[in-house]
Amino acid sequence: MSLINQVFQSFSQKKKQKEWPLVKMNQQRAAFLQEVIQESVQNMLTEDESTAGLREKISQTLYREKIRLNKKLWKVDTKAKILFWQQMEKMFHQSQQKKNYEEMLQKIMYHYVYEIAGNFRPSYYRVAEKIVEYGFARLLNASQLGGLRYLFSKKYQLKDKIQIIGATEDLKKLAKIGTIVMVPTHFSHLDSALIGWVIKTLGLPPFIYGAGLNLFNIKIFAYFMNSLGVYKIDRRKKNLLYLTALKAYANLTLQKQCHSLFYPGGTRSRSGMLEKTLKLGLLSTTITAQRNNYQKYGKNAPKIFIVPVVFNYHFVLEAPMLIQQHLLLEGVGKKFQEQDFYSKSYKILRFLGKFFTKDSEMCISIGHAMDLLGNAVDAKGNSYTSEGKYVDTYEYFMSGEKNDTVKKKEDQYTQTMSQAIIRAYYKINCVFTSHLVAFVAFRLIKKQHASLDFKHLFGLSSKEHTLDYDIFYRQVQKIYQKIMLLYQSKAIQVSPIMLHQNMDYIICHGLKHVGMYHSKRPLIKDSQGNITTQSLSTLYYYHNRLMGYGLEKYVS
């Protein structure tokens, strides 16, 4: 490529970037944040205008913050923040009139909104893009070809390792005419890095997304996320004022047409199952934003599109810890020392090294875009029912109802949307060989010990988990056929290996890849050629991926 071409491309790229809604919004950051503060304050006052009500809400917030600050502090809990809450408490005791409380409300909202807000810098974004794109690709080549001398080889690209399947072409078109809200499943901290790569690979403009404030404790994450349009969600804060500020931020970024990403499950799936219930708080901001858009711009207002995304892995680094947490919640597991696999920057790099050196693969399934009520959307942004009837979404929002029922109606819309997202997750979930073998193995072990409850089942020694290979083989074959029926009726996706290889290969591949980096492997072949597990709980985690399709009743 000639130098002139390169200069021209770089120039046109920068010009394009200036038009990104996220860049535009960030150019007027102070004004935007002021808008968020005012919206948050207004929302609080509209809910209850009385002095007593306001006093009560502030008092609750101060109390909760006090409790939080008395617990173990995070790195992000700076002295300045602690001082702020001490000042607020002092001010609260001196306040008596409504205007004092309103002033406090303003200050608290200011504090929260500035804590939540991201600060997008295109130059940082470009650096992060290059790191993900080239850094990972270099690591991949060095590891696959055998050593540092291959560091700059171009033989392998990230695309060889990570597959993106689904309606990507429509997504690119829709990103130009409306606002995309990606709603991925959440299994691992790696999801956020991967989705960043997906966005870049598909040529989409940057997305704004919420990340747990705990991730900002890690320097390498904090450095990039602070500049990537990431806003911070502190899950320790459950008070109404904080949640109102968070919702107002999300709502107004959507109204500014910034493409967004929510993890609607709220946190990583502890059980390894696809999410069955979603957190409705942030999702509801999409409905509010769409209504506000229609109120402002009428029938032709920009539409918000929901795009479900499912991450499919053979291996989830945090699986053993997550499933322990899940079992503990279910009253089955024992208390254990929590390990944060991503607690240090070097640990992340070590994991990435592992990922690229081993023969693992990932697949990211992108679902069809939907409108906010779950109707399918075409590349032009028009909504259609499953029977192909055109739907004017404006009518969902502007059918002339009274104000008091609007919120209740929109809560119901959010429910409808969450159900549509869950249905889409199950449809685009891509079955890997490892999911299949883990599912069958766990079901067979459970069946072998049908009289035991979960607590006793997990207490058995590994010798008691051994399965006869022939029985295992036949059952895998049976479930495989059921999965293919689901695939034919478009109720699930399957990996190319599942589609094109024979049963021996599928089982062998599945056994090799299921939870491949765990020190205790979920499934192995023993010296007699039978199937056994070194960690039943981890096997249970990977098995859970295929729950929800009613397949368990076919394992006999």
């Binding site: 029977e387 209740k408 119901q412 399709y549």
Partner: protein, 344 residues
């Protein structure tokens, strides 16, 4: 209100000109213009000439039609009052004309057979079928002890409107409430729909008891055990307990089990006297929803960890010719020891 002063008011649509559909149309017509839909042109013509439908005199504010497109165009709120078996074709025909701003209320006390993703048999309620088949989201149902004969006679009565949308409940209350007719609201639409459908099974059993000349002790036993069974099945299908202990549940159950003119009761009555199912249906000449419901529910409970002895026995009486006395004997021997434990 005089009909001449109501031309500016939006019309309300009623799809289905059977007995209940006509009764509801008459109730609505007190305050609104009503478009009453019948599928057959000849029925519409008869209504127009005789000013009568299903042996009821039509209120002057009712206009008969056989065009669904007209109903959808002129009415934001549409009541669907057809039989459960007639619903799929009805909603399929209506759906192309519906928009998201429409509100649909149904008064159907039945269930629909469906398949899940693994092609297994499952059950759907009427509102679930309407949701699947149309763009309408504001869906509600009315259910309760609404015996048409008493409604016609303008006796005091009440119904329950259920919808997840508060707006729908309020609309129906405004439309139907009058001095003679009270309208309660609920947000558990699935629960209210199931109350209306499941009580038909118990009504058939109650008819059987009367057919065998048993008295009130036996009937009270059936109603209370029937109620427990309805709640277990309802919970398995995703309903809460609340609707079952309200007007749409126990209220409707008591009314139907005491009413000799109820189709389900009457069917059970004749069945206990040894008449063949085919002959009874020929005589009744109308849909007996309980027969379809018992078929679906029996299949469903077989795969669930719940016991539904009354449903199973009613099924055997209808489809396996189990004699009534034998059926009662089996039920009396059934090993139930706890009266009520579902409220814990």
């Amino acid at each position: 209100m005089d009909s001449k002063n109501m031309y500016h008011k939006p019309s309300i649509g009623v799809v289905g000109a059977g007995r209940f559909g006509t009764a509801i149309a008459n109730l609505l017509a007190k305050k609104h213009n009503v478009l009453l839909y019948a599928r057959r042109k000849s029925v519409v013509t008869t209504m127009q000439i005789q000013k009568k439908s299903a042996k009821q005199i039509l209120h002057p504010n009712i206009t008969p039609t056989n065009q669904l497109s007209v109903i959808a165009k002129k009415c934001e709120t549409i009541f669907i009052m057809v039989s459960a078996t007639g619903l799929p074709s009805c909603i399929q025909a209506l759906a192309p004309y519906l928009s998201p701003y429409h509100t649909i209320i149904h008064g159907i006390k039945g269930l629909i057979h469906a398949k899940d993703i693994m092609q297994n048999d499952t059950i759907k309620t009427i509102s679930q079928i309407i949701t699947d088949a149309s763009v309408v989201v504001k869906i509600g149902c009315i259910s309760g002890p609404n015996l048409v004969r008493e409604l016609e006679a303008k006796q005091p009565a009440a119904t329950v409107v259920a919808s997840k949308f508060e707006e729908v409940n309020k609309t129906v209350q405004q439309l139907l409430r009058s001095v003679q007719f009270q309208v309660y609201s609920s947000h558990d639409i699935i629960g209210v729909e199931l109350c209306g459908a499941l009580k038909n099974i118990i009504a058939i059993a109650a008819g059987c008891l009367s057919g065998m000349q048993y008295g009130d002790n036996t009937k009270a036993l059936l109603i209370s055990r029937g109620m427990v069974e309805m709640i277990y099945i309802g919970k398995a299908l995703g309903a809460s307990i609340a609707p079952f202990i309200g007007l749409a549940g126990i209220g409707d159950l008591v009314a139907t089990c005491a009413n000799h003119s109820s189709r389900n009761f009457s069917f059970g009555y004749q069945l206990a006297q040894g008449k063949a199912v085919k002959d009874i249906l020929t005589e009744i000449q109308e849909t007996v929803e309980g027969i379809h419901t018992v078929q679906m529910v029996k299949k469903y409970v077989q795969k669930q960890p719940i016991r539904a002895p009354i449903t199973e026995i009613v099924y055997r009486m209808i489809f396996e010719q189990l004699p009534a006395h034998h059926a009662l004997h089996i039920l009396m021997k059934y090993p139930f020891h706890v009266d009520v434990d579902f409220l814990q």
